[in-house]
């Protein structure tokens, strides 16, 4: 494969070089003298032939689609290599045809005519202050970032059937309200390394599930980062619990209960506060009822 790609590149390089020799300007540049017209015609024909050969190589070995695609890619590289190499060509005729651009700065007395650069010191200082603020804010914010949920001291460690697990609120914030003011919370769960291979699926919901069909939302993600977004019912209270339902690959079902107050104190407080303010209350239950009809 490597040889094939190299061949396509080298042949198209040769092809483009021949095409360059076929033009007056570049032939003179490259050879130091202008070749006769028939030689230039020959170079033109040879150039196009070489490009065709490299295309044929590509199509023959890579198939028409991939062959043409990659051939175009190598053509680009070959042509650009020549473009940027030509000015360095040693045979280049001595080029004294510099433009008559009078060197303004070199004129005697020119310095005096030049306008004096205004000092934009205010702008400079403001920008410098902002520049200094960037790493400062970055570091302060980084400092304030808590450690990962499952590594926190308040992550709940428990046992569901034969398997040990850790469960944590993703953040310690109040629930996020999505469409129709439904409060949502994200949780992360991690089972022990050996346990995980024995688990078929795990579900999470608030309040005890009536059956496996209503076990809640299934946990997604890799072994070390199983996560789930669940909806919190409007009747959530300080006494509510999260129910983790786990089905093993052997078909056995196990359940564990985690008090919501233990993992999401801010959420419990938010519900209590909402209870106290009845006018804010009805929004969520109504939304929850309307949702299925959507």
């Amino acid at each position: 494969m490597t040889l094939l790609h190299l061949a396509i590149l080298v042949i198209s390089l040769a092809g483009f070089a021949a095409l360059a020799l076929a033009t007056e300007r570049h032939a003179e540049h490259l050879l130091g003298r202008l070749p006769a017209p028939q030689w230039r015609l020959l170079a033109r024909v040879a150039g196009w032939l070489l490009l065709a050969v490299s295309l044929a190589l590509g199509i023959a070995y890579l198939g028409s689609g991939v062959g043409i695609t990659l051939w175009l890619g190598w053509l680009t590289i070959a042509a650009l290599a020549l473009v940027f190499a030509f000015p360095k060509w040693p045979l280049r005729p001595v080029d004294h045809a510099r433009p008559a651009r009078p060197a303004k700065a070199a004129k005697p007395g020119a310095a005096a005519e030049m306008p004096v650069a205004p000092r934009r010191t205010a702008r400079r200082w403001l920008a410098a202050a902002l520049l200094a603020a960037v790493p400062l804010v970055y570091l302060l914010a980084l400092q304030a970032t808590p450690i990962a949920p499952l590594l926190r001291a308040d992550a709940f460690a428990g046992q569901v059937g034969p398997w040990s697990f850790r469960l944590a609120d993703r953040d310690h914030d109040v629930p996020k309200l999505v469409a129709m003011d439904i409060p949502m919370k994200s949780y992360q769960v991690r089972f022990c390394e050996d346990c995980d291979a024995q688990i078929r699926a795990a579900y999470l919901k608030v309040n005890k599930p009536r059956s496996l069909r209503a076990a809640g939302i299934v946990l997604q993600g890799t072994r070390w980062d199983r996560n789930v977004d669940i909806q919190l019912p409007a009747n959530t209270t300080a006494g509510s619990s999260l129910w983790l339902t786990v089905v093993g690959k052997d078909g056995e079902m196990h359940q564990a209960q985690v008090r919501l107050a233990d993992v999401s104190p801010a959420t419990v407080a938010w519900f209590q506060q909402r209870e106290a303010k009845p006018e804010a209350g009805p929004a969520a239950p109504q939304g929850a009822i309307e949702r299925p009809s959507q």
């Binding site: 494969m1 490597t2 890619g73 680009t76 042509a79 700065a105 030049m114 890799t222």
Partner: protein, 552 residues
């Protein structure tokens, strides 16, 4: 307003290019590494072991063990899969022996849950799901930024990028008309002549890579075709999700199959695999699938899928089907979706370039860099044409506000953004491992450094900002393999010794980028250094009397 078409296109080219140039530069800088996103992600997860490719020793026995396990863990499922060890162009890393299944959907659902396991091919034991790597945004997030941007909704991201892409397509087409001598001046590059050199470089890069630019812009628009132009679908199928179901059913009939429970195939699998390998070559079977066959008689079929190979219709690899009871070959699966879907897939595949091997990926990567170069030179050209003073004269503050603004944004983006990408990689190695949202912090680092570059460009004289930011970018890239060596055991000494060219290649590419930025710093310094410019001007005036009029 304009007396000729060319004047009109020239105006259009200049201004469409300018207003979207920075976004497009961002799109190209983040999209180009996307061609190596899998490799970048691997580098960003140094905890994972270096890969060892191991083929199956006793295939017949391993297949039986896999079927035993499937029968135990997923009896009566809708589909079973046995994944053979392979390396395809799609995954680009060695895939281990394993199984997967789709369970029958519970009542009221279209689709049941899926599962997968890695198996020990000799014993059939379930292997642990692997070492936990550090949390990282990986190559994928960097790549996604090129069409979603960041810190905004999906909808807004693709809209903004869509508008910019459309304008880029316009800038490309008008550019071809504007620079009408592009084919006559095909090989022309005249270095060291200021504006003329910028124009030559801009033209050369744009013309040589024109096929790539046209393809990448146009196919980029095809990705979100129906988001940008929903009228056609809405008129025929309606605009809400429910009424669009028939549309998806027509385009993707294979996703609409009604699952049927399967049982263990009666035919031995090894002869089927041998038959497929006789056609495709050894090691070319990726998956053995067992599911109910629809189309050619309602029988349970064993489907062998080929490794995703080098073809433009890359996402749908070749398959062979056999009757699961007798092992008799079945008619091939009919291609669904018709010519329109094939055209779209080919467009998207051309854009993603997944179908090419390692060499082709480098060609794509290089073409992406040329895209950055085209946009960068174009943006610089705009300011070079309009400013009255040489940057090195220190008089940039007397320029018009607009010119200075563009110039500042140019420095911050063209010199600052590559540095910010290097900072993204450095953040992967230096951020604490146990913080919440570590992936998000890697991205924050990128944007913080970019913002810093903008303030830096405002705080320094422009010519100094150009040189210094290029140097800083060079240092940042040069540091990546060094920091990698100090913080992990996947450093160049180890990766080169193990012959792991993905990890070693990443580190070496970082040094390549450092070299590129160093070259830019040298070039820019040569152009913008005031003392040098003055000396050169004085020298030229003294040595050569003016001889000729013009070279233009």
């Amino acid at each position: 307003m304009f007396s000729s078409l060319r004047q009109c296109t020239s105006w259009l080219h200049t201004w469409t290019g300018l207003i979207v140039g920075w976004v497009l530069f961002f799109v190209f800088v983040t999209g180009t590494p996307g061609y190596f996103q899998i490799e970048i992600t691997r580098w960003m997860q140094p905890e994972l072991p270096m890969v060892q490719a191991r083929a199956l020793e006793n295939r017949a026995a391993s297949f039986e063990l896999a079927l035993d396990r499937l029968q135990k863990v997923a009896p009566g499922a809708a589909a079973w899969r046995i994944n053979l060890p392979h390396e395809s162009l799609q995954s680009r890393t060695w895939q281990e022996f394993g199984i997967g299944w789709d369970e029958m959907p519970p009542d009221g659902h279209d689709r049941g849950p899926s599962g997968s396991e890695k198996l020990d091919p000799a014993t059939g034991q379930v292997l642990p799901s692997g070492i936990e790597p550090r949390a990282t945004a990986g190559g994928r997030t960097l790549y996604q930024m090129h069409y979603l941007l960041h810190y905004m909704d999906f909808d807004w991201g693709i809209r903004i990028v869509g508008v910019c892409t459309m304008l880029m397509l316009m800038a490309i087409v008008t550019g071809v008309i504007t620079h009408k001598k592009i084919f006559k001046d095909f090989f022309t590059f005249r270095p060291g002549k200021g504006q003329r050199s910028w124009l030559d470089a801009h033209n050369a890069v744009s013309v040589m890579a024109l096929p790539f630019f046209l393809m990448i812009t146009y196919s980029g628009l095809v990705f979100f075709l129906f988001t940008y132009m929903p009228a056609g679908i809405n008129a025929i199928y309606g605009s809400d999700q429910q009424s669009r179901k028939p549309y998806f059913a027509e385009i993707f009939p294979e996703f609409n199959r009604k699952p049927v429970a399967i049982s263990r195939p009666g035919t031995p699998l090894l002869p089927l695999v041998a038959q497929a390998e006789a056609v495709w070559g050894p090691g070319q079977v990726r998956t053995i699938g067992v599911m109910h066959n629809q189309g050619a008689g309602e029988v349970q079929a064993v489907t062998l899928t080929r490794v995703n190979g080098s073809a433009l219709d890359f996402q749908r690899p070749q398959t062979l089907r056999f009757d699961a009871r007798s092992g008799a070959p079945l008619a091939p699966e009919p291609k669904t979706g018709g010519a329109a879907r094939t055209t779209q897939t080919v467009m998207l595949n051309l854009h993603e370039g997944l179908f090419v091997g390692a060499w082709g990926r480098w060609v794509y990567f290089f073409a992406g860099l040329l895209g950055c170069a085209m946009i960068g030179t174009g943006m610089v050209l705009w300011t070079v044409k309009r400013r009255r003073h040489h940057l090195g004269s220190g008089l940039e503050a007397t320029e018009q506000f607009g010119v200075r603004l563009v110039e500042t944004l140019n420095v911050a983006t063209i010199a600052g953004l590559p540095m910010a990408v290097a900072a993204y990689f450095l953040a992967n190695r230096l951020l604490p491992l146990d913080i919440t949202d570590r992936p998000a912090w890697e991205v924050h680092t990128l944007f913080a450094v970019w913002l810093g570059a903008l303030f830096y460009a405002l705080a320094r004289p422009l010519h100094r900002a150009w040189i210094e930011l290029f140097r800083a970018g060079c240092a940042a890239y040069a540091l990546v393999p060094v920091i990698n060596a100090l913080t992990t055991d996947k450093h160049l000494l180890n990766t080169l010794r193990a012959g792991d060219w993905v990890l070693a290649g990443f580190d070496l590419t970082m040094w390549g980028m450092a070299a590129l930025l160093a070259l830019m710093a040298v070039k820019v310094k040569r152009r913008l250094d005031p003392s040098r410019a003055a000396r050169k001007a004085a020298g030229a005036a003294a040595a050569r009397p003016v001889t000729e009029g013009s070279v233009a």
